[in-house]
Symmetry: C2
Subunit: 423 residues, 2 copies
Amino acid sequence: MSHTALKESVLEKVQAAKQAARYLGTLREAEKNAALLAMADSLRTDRDFIFQANEEDVKEARKSGIPEPRIDRLVITEKRLNEMIEGLHQVAGLEDPVREVIETIQRSDGLMIEKVRVPFGVIAMIYESRPNVTVDAAGLALKTGNAVVLRGGKEALRSNMALVDALRKGLANRHIPVGALQLIDRTERESVDILIRAKGLVDLAIPRGGAGLIGRVLENALVPVIETGVGNCHLYVDRAADPDMATAIVLNAKTQRPSVCNAIETLLVHEKIANEWLPAAIDALREHGVQIRGCRKTQAIIGEGNLTPATDEDYAAEFLDLVLAVKIVSSIDEAITHIEKFGTRHSEAIITEDREAAEKFLTQVDAAAVYHNASTRFTDGFQFGFGAEIGISTQKLHARGPMGLRELTSYKYRIRGSGQIRT
Amino acid sequence: MSHTALKESVLEKVQAAKQAARYLGTLREAEKNAALLAMADSLRTDRDFIFQANEEDVKEARKSGIPEPRIDRLVITEKRLNEMIEGLHQVAGLEDPVREVIETIQRSDGLMIEKVRVPFGVIAMIYESRPNVTVDAAGLALKTGNAVVLRGGKEALRSNMALVDALRKGLANRHIPVGALQLIDRTERESVDILIRAKGLVDLAIPRGGAGLIGRVLENALVPVIETGVGNCHLYVDRAADPDMATAIVLNAKTQRPSVCNAIETLLVHEKIANEWLPAAIDALREHGVQIRGCRKTQAIIGEGNLTPATDEDYAAEFLDLVLAVKIVSSIDEAITHIEKFGTRHSEAIITEDREAAEKFLTQVDAAAVYHNASTRFTDGFQFGFGAEIGISTQKLHARGPMGLRELTSYKYRIRGSGQIRT
């Protein structure tokens, strides 16, 4: 496809989304909820077609040698489809944030200024191979009155087409313009660039995936972007830590689900507690299958031969696996400085019984979620009680940490007068 | 200067700002207020030096043929310096938004999640020739615990250096690290690019100026940006408008201060009221020195020879001058569609006694501020009661419309536990 034809094909969908967006902003909650349930019904009705499309994707992915963990993310099992359907039901049950009056300013001249929550308009989602993102994003966007343009991974295209086809039937059944839900079916990387440069049409782009995907989007976007997901999280065990609590939390934060962004990647240990606490903690981690990469001081304690040395590359890595870097620090300041240098501003925790040290850590560590005496694994829209999650923001503009429905809205000032002019 | 040397010179300042930022976030309100007053005192003490530097800038600007309106923006008069000083006093009097607990979530397992307001960290301001922005930005950043890196227009460099020098003396007098306030003294355009691509160091960039400046920043930035200021605003006079109110408001919105972003640039008139209302309204506008550019239907009413025809270019223009495009529309929908096509999402107004039409306009027009029966000139942080304004956002991410102190903050989740792990 020529560049011009590709551009036309992408922008046509974005324009259709924008047209639908104006109408979506006026929908009442009951209409949106009915459509969400109809979308869920359609997924159920079209299940065979969806499984078939997914099987073709999986077969093709295997043929082109895509590694098994990525194929696992691609597969739509019976259970996963049911979870997608259940997810739409859950979103229908959440409170609609649109039209909330956030603040009222009454001027002495009678002018009434209301700050009111509104949809963004058109949201572009750029993601990788998980087809559940397709359904999640469609549901959350509709609930918040946004049109959405989806650009999923190449290897999931057939699955996404089948899912979107079903979801649009649900919309149509409830007389919602199907323009509200768009899927970019072009697999050229350039189609992403066209989407994220469509200023005036796309109000927000949310990349969801690895550091490579997010970096490319930031590099090329002209529309506002929310960075999500990359989590190089740390647990700092202070000199005044309760040793048993520290062990329980490091095991949980590293091993309960190592492949997710809120799992820890580096353990920082105060030198005053390291001799006493670290050997048993490392034994426990190893029992859970964790490979340790340690700094020199860690090696000195554990025995050099027993440990892979940790490099700066390890400290910078988001392993997403049963691998943990361990570094002994001589002060809380060194821990904070290490986190500032290597952290991705996601989730950071301190274990200590020293209240002052805890407050210092909570205040000075710059991250979406800072924890005292708890596992980083709680950074999650469901755990925070949002009822839904579109991603976890690691930037500071607009939304930070787990993003639920409210984070998918903007606001406007609605001002009512009786002829007021400025003098 | 070589690219490498320029990059080093800019990044050195950004790094110094980042280092200061960690400390600024811990400052108490009283300390920040004392420093703001000390900054104001320094401006007073250094006034002669500031005026002298500014005179040199103005002389140089005249020599290089910079047009008079831009030179006028550059001049620091006695009155303007006093306003800058007064501005710092006002900011000291405003409430500090930092550390506000926005929300508390208590989980059944005892985990206590607090959403707390925090500074961004390092803010980059990119602006043109007005030196008052230097002082405003320095004051608002300090009050919100942010470090700020300023990059003003080339022609104001000597003035900005003198101002920043004085402001830093004020900081030093109150033992605040002067790293908190940085001025990029390189005039190469590339220095802006280095600043807005300093990911991990700069948390937010705010360009303030014309469409050209803002477009360049969006094109090149890797850090989050808030778009500000470009205002192509409309007044729509509905068929059910009160004619006298409509005249009073169009005059105010166009002529009270035509050079600002919340002044209107296009008047849309419903055809059912145009014959009766428009001729007298245009006479009144002309009496105030306004040049009219009209659509065909306007020409038919006013007389073809009496009117410059309006083109799409006129509809897209932010005149910032006593020029007004006039278009007659056959419905409120046509008005809304015109605004969607040409507006910059800043401020839009409808004049009508028809409540339903008003609600439709307020809901469907996508802009930071939507008005019913009032002038667009109220879109302003001071008019909204914020007590300060760093700019007017025309995007939907994070902040929309006038940005005061709160809009210069982010939030983090501060979570306190007693050993909670995720099961």
